[in-house]
Amino acid sequence: MSSSNEARKDNLLVGLAGQQNAGKSTTFNMLTGANQHIANYPGVTVDKKTGFYRYKDVRVETVDLPGTYSLTSFSLEERVARDFLLTEQPDVIVNVLDSSSLKRSLYFTLQVLEMDFPIAVALNMMDVAKRNGTHVDVEKLSHRLGVDVIPTVGRRGKGKNELRDAIIATANRKEHNVLRVTYEELEPEVAALEEELGKTKMQGKYPLRWMAVKLIEGDSEAQRIVREELGENSAAQTKANEIRDKFEEDHYMDVADFMLGCRDRLATDIVESCVTEEKEGRDTITDMIDNIVLNRFAAPFFLVATVFVIYQLAIVQGYELTNYWWPYLAKVRSFIADLLPAAGLLEDPYVRSMGLWMVDSANGLLNYIPIFVILFSLIAILEDSGYMARIAFILDKLFHSFGLHGQSTLPYILGGVFAGGCAVPGVMATKGIPDERSRMATILTVPYMNCLAKIPFYTLLINVFFVEYKSWAMLFLSTFTIFAALLISKLLTSTVLKTMETAPFVMELPKYHPPTLFGVGQRAVERTWQYIKKVGSIVVAVSVCVFTLLQFPGLPAEKMAEFEGRMDQALVTFQTKIKKSSYAGQFGDVQSVVNLLNLYHDYKNDKMSIRGKEASLALNDKYKAEYPGMYMFLKPGADKDAKVVNRALRKLSSSRKSLRREMKEVRISNSFLGMVGRSLEPVTQWAGFNWKINVAIMSSFAARESSVATIGVLYQQGADENKSLEERVGSESGEGGFTPLHALAVMIFFALYPPCLATTIMIKVQTGSYKWMTFSILFPTALGFLAASVVYTGGSAANLSGIQMMGIFYGFTVLLTIALGLFNSWRKDPEPLPDFSGRVTE
């Protein structure tokens, strides 16, 4: 450490930067232990992890930057990492390199060096390098880069104190003689532009050489910065444009490619001078595994097996765990219910209704937690092991044609490609997709997959209207959604998502390395915790809106009077029945009856959360102790007079429950949502929907329990018009009846319609935007309606049967998908970036 007259800094801000899979998060954990905090970077949904530690009287705040390949404007993570560097001006950048893939890592290092920040290098994964026979001359590397280089093995905490020492030394070093990338023929122009920038107010505020390089490269973010700082048409921007135009005119080469080549050659030279490989000719572990995993014929099977395991563990086993998890959520609900005003006879106080609605909405989402913990653990294992990059590699060519990414595979599988899935974990799993446009396209199309809740509805309609073609109909629905998702992704990425940042697929396959338990577990917990926090805030906003739409204006006065009359009748019956009981005197007024009803209701609710004999007996003891004067009416035992009350109570409770259900159905029908459903009838008739179906569709989205009403509505069709079931089923174009063509239109609509409120809430969580959440509701609804209308109206006009129209629609969808896929592969591919996956040579 060099001597200094300045006081040593005792508070440091450190940015941890590096490529994905270099072990950056593991290094972060090594430096900071468990003392960490997670937020979002401003304005984006990228996680910002901050940790603290104290070492030799220095307090160090460490920020884990997103893993990136470079600092261009290609992806959200890259811009976030670079914006942090520019705005926060950290004291030290710790660049984590993967010593077993040094050249690939150095590509990023050279860009960070160019930004003039004090840098220390953590040469990580030295154990993997050693095992592969790769030897890095640390001292020589340090000399060539001009910075401290500390060998580390993050997983085992090796190099921890040395790295901390290097951080302090780097922060206090007065002069930094770091390696500079030379841009060969362009070097004079870079120097000239740097000088030009030096005359502006950007001097001292930005690293000017880096800015000059970026402007000449045509980097959009750099251009934006210059516009903001110096205005439109500044001298610097003009000069940069001239330099680029002239170079490309003289050399017939894109400037960005040329500069990339300069860095590449420099990285190659450094590796050649600092790295030696032993055991030449012998496959490394990674190569051995890849010979199988990436084998042209074996790759698909290995991929399918991996995805199948994830599906089985996360979805199938996760659901098993919800059986044990749910009782805790139910206890929370009971606790909150006790805090709210007591239930009324037929209607609850508004505060209670709203409160319980919100709790139910939140619980519905929180019930997924066991699934998420498992899912995120498995994803973290894939990421840390290096196989995730290979999944992207295998599938990217196919998906790229439709604007998707290789890593879109997992979200689709979880959403339900073939077997029933669930869009909520599917959307959640898009977090790892590095390309923002692809990620958005995936988020917006995962809901089209066949979630578990959709399948029984399809089954019902198929069994009623397509019995003879059952297999074909199920095949249609199972696979139609895949083609629909690909087509819609293509549509979205060509239109509303067109301006989003996209990135060329970089063919870099990291070495395999074992995930750490701490790293995997921590990430799973972090992501699940993020989910829980966001559910808490979003559910409040959405539940209030939906609740209002469903509750108001409420029941018409005459309807309410009718229900009250029936309830009064039930009360009279109750009073009559208990008259002979010696306890009759206790229930002379309505309020005491309401109290009894509510107690009975609470008891049954608590019973729903437990299992087994011991738990039941314990619950009984609890109620006996808390309500000694009322318990005998819940459990009369040998008390005959109590038994009379109990029997009457059960009947009364049943009546109340039925009336409440009927009231709810009428309330929804008369609600604002119901009014919208009716007013849409002139439009929806083209899809064969009447107002009843409209209301059922809208309410089944907002309140899933109303999905029963959807089926009830469909059953009512024939009954209302006095048509026998036989006549209806036998007729393919019955006038006024519900025909197979109707059924097909409804199924297509439901295939494209948002599966549930939870999914749209999850889309909000992932996009950080209510705008996209709204889009994810309106666009699929409009598209579903359009498709249903084409099918129903077109089919009717052409006098086609349901099964015929199904075949035509399916054929059209499949052919269009194939045509679009092939079309893109015919287009000339842009020049690929240099391949860094080759082995380092001596």
Partner: protein, 105 residues
């Protein structure tokens, strides 16, 4: 006519039961003390269990009763003599079994 009704009923049952997959199925049973048992069902997100298939089997595993949850998600039956098991069939791989011995008075 009868055949179609059966198909519709089975389809409806299957459809209702399938609703369970998207959330956790719930059921509890009470001995009413008058030789009847009432079972109440539901799902974790508040969805109705109406239509979910219900079976009661005797000690030998033979099905002695078949039915479905009512519109109010309840199913009542006479208590069988001897050992019995109540099955709430919310779809393949997602049944809940309640042992008669666990249904306490």
């Amino acid at each position: 006519m009868k055949k179609i009704t059966v198909v519709l009923a089975l389809a409806a049952l299957l459809a209702f039961a399938g609703q369970a997959f998207a959330h956790t199925p719930l059921v509890s049973c009470f001995d009413n003390g008058d030789n009847t048992i009432t079972c109440e069902g539901g799902f974790s997100d508040g969805s109705s269990a109406a239509g979910v298939k219900m079976y009661v089997k005797d000690g030998n595993g033979k099905t002695i009763l078949k039915g479905a949850m009512s519109e109010d998600s309840e199913y009542e039956f006479n208590k069988p003599a001897g050992a019995y098991m109540v099955i709430f069939d919310a779809g393949e791989g997602h049944q809940i079994e309640v042992n008669g011995a666990d249904i306490v008075e």
